[in-house]
């Protein structure tokens, strides 16, 4: 049920992915079950992924994709509303609160401002020592733990989301630049790439089905965003989530929602699957400027 690979041989899956890729006009160069992925191959992926969207939406520059779905011509009728709302966004009081929380002292006198975080445009960061991927959410909790403070349990919403938004917003305008030179990072990339292009759920959709092949098209009353730019506006304040009083969401919250929407089981926020997916999407966003937080539908 939502689990990629169940019932398929790896070879058949790879074949399926490759034929899907060709259908989209993007060639998955050299991907085989045995050979490790290379930096050169990743660079080519980026070129082709970005090239696809720049061609599909002529007139848009790489920077325009920072706005997410709002950049697409098919969303033009709602963009004016979004622009007005972004002048006076509902998340403003929350961002003020987050700035206070960032500077608030721990028991030991230090604060989140003293945490050793990487520049926002470099996340997720591959940690060679542990083999793990560092996300902003993970680093915030690691820092809290290291300073004897309680970690934030809910890593998808509320306090964690606004803290991540506060941190990342300080780097707005910086172009995404994730380091994938280490073979360990490349393994995470491959995992994320496979997730993105694999079918899942009762609706049997991959991320690519909506956000590559059908980007700009409508799904009922909504316009499907382009995969290029996914995440550069996150965490987001969604008006849909606002109704139930939980407006903030990190990218992993959205991933879970998307999986639910194709009737697949979601995965754990800050778990391996979504970290890998975030890594892949972030690499595909190379050169797209950060614009955090965003107000979205």
């Amino acid at each position: 049920m939502g689990n990629v690979g169940s019932g398929y041989s790896r070879r058949a899956k790879m074949k399926k992915l490759v034929s899907l890729a060709f259908a989209a006009g993007i060639a998955m160069v050299g991907a085989s079950a045995v050979q490790a992925i290379s930096e050169a191959e990743i660079k080519k992926d980026i070129e082709e992924f970005q090239g696809f969207f720049l061609k599909r939406f002529p007139g848009l520059t790489l920077e325009d994709f920072s706005d997410g779905v709002n950049a697409l011509p098919q969303y033009a009728h709602r963009r004016a509303n979004w622009e007005i709302n972004m002048e006076f966004p509902q998340f403003e009081p929350e961002m003020d609160k987050a700035a206070e929380e960032w500077a608030a002292p721990f028991q030991n006198g230090k604060s989140l401002a003293d945490c050793d975080l990487a520049p926002a445009q470099n996340y997720p960061v591959f940690d060679a020592a542990s083999g793990d991927l560092r996300t902003v959410e993970g680093d915030i909790n690691a820092c809290l733990k290291a300073n004897g403070e309680e970690v934030i349990k809910n890593v998808k919403r509320g306090k964690m989301a606004r803290l991540v938004a506060h941190y990342k917003s300080q780097f707005n305008g910086e172009k995404m630049a994730v380091d994938y030179s280490d073979p360990g990072a490349q393994a995470w990339y491959e995992k994320g790439r496979q997730f993105y292009w694999a079918k899942r759920g009762q609706l049997n959709f991959s991320c690519a089905d909506c956000h590559v092949h059908n980007s700009g098209n409508s799904a009922r009353g909504d316009v499907l965003s382009a995969g290029l730019g996914h995440g550069v506006g996150f965490p987001v304040w969604r008006t849909k989530w606002q109704v139930a009083g939980k407006p903030w969401g990190t990218i992993h919250r959205r991933y879970g929602g998307c999986n639910n929407q194709v009737r697949a089981d979601g995965f754990k926020a800050q778990g391996e699957e979504y970290k890998a997916l975030e890594f892949y999407e972030s690499v595909m966003n190379t050169g797209v400027p950060l614009k955090v937080p965003s107000l979205r539908q």
């Binding site: 007005i84 002048e87 006076f88 509902q90 403003e92 009081p93 008006t239 009083g245």
Partner: protein
């Protein structure tokens, strides 16, 4: 409840007053996912704008307006030094207001 206001010069002349009200704007139709009961309606009914103490505009909101509404009006006669006020009342009789000077 909190209400914030921003005023900026309008391209068409006058000043655009933007009001961001923190309000759940419950329609009364939504069900609580845990209890299955309908969440009672709680929404802003009227929002009145004033210029230097005199009422100049009134918005009749209702259940069609979403949570934490952003309402904007353009006041053609506003000029620097004026005080713009907003006051809203909801269906429970609760209210809030805000004030700002035109710069």
């Amino acid at each position: 409840m909190s209400t914030k206001m921003k005023i900026k010069k309008s391209a068409d002349g006058g000043y655009e007053v933007m009001v961001l009200a923190k309000h759940p704007m419950e329609t009364g139709l939504r069900k609580d996912s845990k209890t299955g009961e309908k969440i009672p309606a709680h929404f802003i009914k009227t929002m009145e704008f004033s210029l230097n103490g005199t009422a100049v505009a009134q918005a009749d909101l209702g259940t069609g307006v979403s949570t934490n509404p952003l309402i904007s009006v353009t006041l053609a006669d506003a000029k620097p030094g004026d005080t713009v006020g907003v006051n809203w009342v909801d269906n429970k009789g609760e209210s809030d207001s805000a004030e700002a000077a035109v710069k």
